[in-house]
Amino acid sequence: MDMVTVKINGREYEVPAGSKIIDAARIAKIDIPTLCYLKDVNEIGACRLCLVEVKGARGLMAACVTEVTNGMEIYTNTPKVQASRKTNLELILSTHKKECLSCIRSGSCELQKLCRDLGVTDENRFAGKNVEGLKDESTAFLVRDNDKCILCRRCVAACKNMQGIGVIEALNRGFDTQIGSAFDQPLAATSCVSCGQCIVACPVGALHEKDDTDKVWDAINDPTKHVAICTAPSIRATIGECFGIEPGVDTEGKMVAALKRLGFDGVYDMNLTADLTIMEEATEFLGRMKEGKNLPLITSCSPGWIKYCEHYFPEFTENLSTCKSPQQMFGAMYKTYYARKRGLDPADIVFVSAIPCTAKKFEVRRPGQSAVGAGIYDVDYAITTRELGRMIEKAGINYKALDDEAFDQPFDIGSGAGAIFGATGGVMEAALRTAAEVILGTKLEKLEFEEVRGTAPIKTATYKLGDIEVRVAVASGTKNAKELLNKVKSGELAVDFIEIMACPGGCINGGGQPVQSAATKASIDLKAARSSILYNADKKMELRKSHENLAVKKLYDEFLGEPGSHTAHEVLHTHYIKRGL
């Protein structure tokens, strides 16, 4: 790597050529404050908070977009820089609805932290008129309050640049600029896929998930209800972050312990229905391979991806696996099989899923997600990792101090295959482990399908299973999905089986996951840190294949019959809508 020498605050550093000043400063152990900057997603130099003095330059330079040059002399903390940052924050505050004490982002707000760090003492120094911000609560998953919006455009960049969707944009001009959709239409009227990446991009409280925790509390406190919760594969890898634990620490045992203390009647592991999904999906895949129909098969675990497909690639809806997502399979099994087994009336069951995803809030009310029928949904409430974290905080549980506990039976067993569902490529690998052994009729020697692992945007591989060649592709992030599907459409890429996750990196980076600041995202690889937990868990397990999960086997024996049976279709499968744009 070519290196250049720069001077930062009088000290010399060797930094890679082409680095931005902000990266060079990080090497010098200096964090330059930012608001609009989101590494690799939004680098537009708009908020002007990261301004630094550069010797010889006319004005102050934006550290987030200015590349270093050899011999550059940078000053990050002069009186002029300090004054500029403070005035900048004061001006932003003059347009920001400052209900900080009751704000959902209090404590995790980047603006709040900067005001404290940079010594803002008078939040009303530049008080003046403001335009009334758009409010939007039209969707199942999102609340937008533009009175808090600071126009950093991180959400716009997440939607447009990162996800390739662009249902939100900067509208109007100048002081009247707002973030919203065409003609101020509510988001529900657009082709938004509910991925929630805008929320995790937002530095302040202008965007947040619709909070369903009150409804869950009400259910828990209602003695007539049986309230159960299952947790998605990835949230054990992230929920610790809600309590200040650094990213990349597995807290599954503490999570279970906390949930049991919240008063749920059952705390279960969604890894089990991940395995169930594999049983159904691998069967479906082998069936389609045999018939040569509706190939490539495309996975259906990610409801954001499903909505994306329905809007933007309706011609591919026949290719979607008809399998419900693991969340929905769980709720469906609980309210049919388990209710019958325990003698519970499905109408008295409140089934909650804890998920890394905002699209699942949309999914729970989709048509075709009610195995019992009669207006009883498979899943009543889907709450994000963040909401679950808030419930635990509200209950006063000292999360870090908890001792590990185990999931409740009979839904306590998940395989390593189910565990890796939370990372991009995980569903594909899990399916391949099962499909391969079914096709080959023997045990695989090596269970790792390395080619589909990792956070590359698009991964392809061909596996020879006996006489059969299986061509697979994996994409995460809808922008990459678009690229992949266009290649399939044009015939450029021939493929039999595709895994798509709406969020880049898969569920570990979902729109419902704990919000990390732009600074954290710039300094660590969040996706890699979080997904390593899932792969490590898999590696340590005895049970690493879905079809060897005895709990799953029991479900088939006692209730479903065969994978792909009539009952399985009634309970575990669904259908799609061609929405178009």
Binding site: R48, A83, L91, T95
Partner: protein, 628 residues
Amino acid sequence: MITNIEQLIARRDQYAPTVAMRHGHGHFVDAGDGIRKNVLICGGTGCTSSNSMTVRDALVAELRLAGIEDEIKVVTTGCFGLCALGPIMIVYPEGTFYSKVKPEDMKEIVTEHLVKGNPVRHLLYRETVKGDDILALDQTPFYAKQKRVALRNCGVIDPECINEYIAMDGYQALAKAITTMTPKEVIKTVLDSGIRGRGGAGFPTGRKWSFAEAQPAGKKYVVCNADEGDPGAFMDRSVLEGDPHAVLEAMAIAGYAIGADEGYIYVRAEYPIAVNRLEIAIKQAEEEGVLGNNIFGTGFNFKITLRLGAGAFVCGEETALLTSIEGNRGEPRPRPPFPAVKGLFGKPTIINNVETLANIAQIILNGPEWFASMGTERSKGTKVFALGGKITNTGLVEVPMGTTLREVVEEIGGGVPNGKKFKAAQTGGPSGGCIPADLIDTPIDYDNLTAIGSMMGSGGLIVMDEDDCMVDIAKFFLEFTVDESCGKCVPCRVGTMRLLETLEKITDGNGTMEDIAKLEELSEYIKSASLCALGQTAPNPVLSTLRFFRDEYIAHVVDKTCPAHACKNLMKYKIIADKCKGCTACARKCPVGAITGAIRAPHTIDTEKCIKCGVCISTCKFGAIVKD
């Protein structure tokens, strides 16, 4: 079709006699086509707005009636500069200058002047009538002090006829550059001329070109910034309307110099005539082969595409202009990377303003020394100014750099009308500042203007008299900036609004001395922190008026008065008892019943009720009501 230099020269020689009699005055040239006189009528925006095209039609009809339509050539030209006198008409070879002509005047002009040879004195521009003598256009004070380089063909040739441009040595510079000079020689010539960008900041044009030239070969672009947005500046429009080929030729030269084969002109949609003339010019240039492939048989290719702006001042900023051409919201991008490295569609790009380009062909033809001989040490050549506001000769003037403001305002511009006193001149539009009366002898060039807190900008020059309140003027420009801020960066989007609010507070009579300090602090912050030049220069009107007219601010804040009586909320109407005859006319007209008094006794105004509508002042026949 012109495929080589010989053909270009032949074409020039063929058409030169056609335009020859329009040079200077009194030189009849027989082109062998039976034409005795040329009548030039301005077809620029100013004159067409006052119906010059109807005048032209009436003229043509009268010529036909008189049976002399084959002897008199009627030419629709671009702007002559004296926009306030439109419609304007010049008769050559004598150079007589008719102003404010009407269709019904044509009969007299045709029968008396064009048939009998006697100029119609009462229709002539009054400055040209000196006793028995009639001065030609170029002998008037307005023109005599000017030096027309960029505007040399404006008001002289028919902009819709490429042959008239060729007759004036058009496309000779392009031919010279691409057949006898290397790209580096072209750039050196431009560098040596010392020409700096006419659009705003005054960056040396040759350096811009050499940066782009130094980029690896491949796709590059030449962009002409014709998004003239400074209110009160219209020189670029006049060049495009009057001499569009000069811009096309210069773009092709620039393309050759930096290794680009494609150019874009981004022009304001508010300039329909300019757009139309550019479309015609591009089509003609392509048909004649002076644009397109294999120009003059050299293998050099260059094509030009026209793109229209859509009403966003910020698009005059070069990176915003590029984002706009690319089809986006016209929001500026951070620099570096500079467009010369990463510009339009990510490719090396130079962006030059119209007036800058209008000088290029002359620099190539006459040499850099010629150009550098005009102007001051660090500002070479001439500059076009659009004179407006409280000045007698509203219009366009081109003077050598270094001409003093006094010469421009008093001699060329004819001074402030109505016996009022010159107070200040505003240059540089919303990015510039006000030059007070005691600096009127400042030679105008880039560095002098910057030193006194203004800037050249695109060359708008608005004259203010004693009735103009400088706080109100600062507020006017801030309103403009707030409206035109793109909204991307915080200092400009929020900062300028807070500046404006503070100014409003002051003009409303609610300001404090702390507000003045706040204005200064915020202004300095916006200057140093904004993303683009729009924001970085937005506080200039505030800072420069604070610098030169601080006492006016203080009067607003401390005494709660507006010395120029312009700020409505600080004004009080009062009746001078001595002058009031008690006729009751004002009391009857007052819409809010604020005036009371007995008949034939002095009246009084209840200032609490008064809404300052001014009806009473225009009603009073005795001048008894005044603003205080």
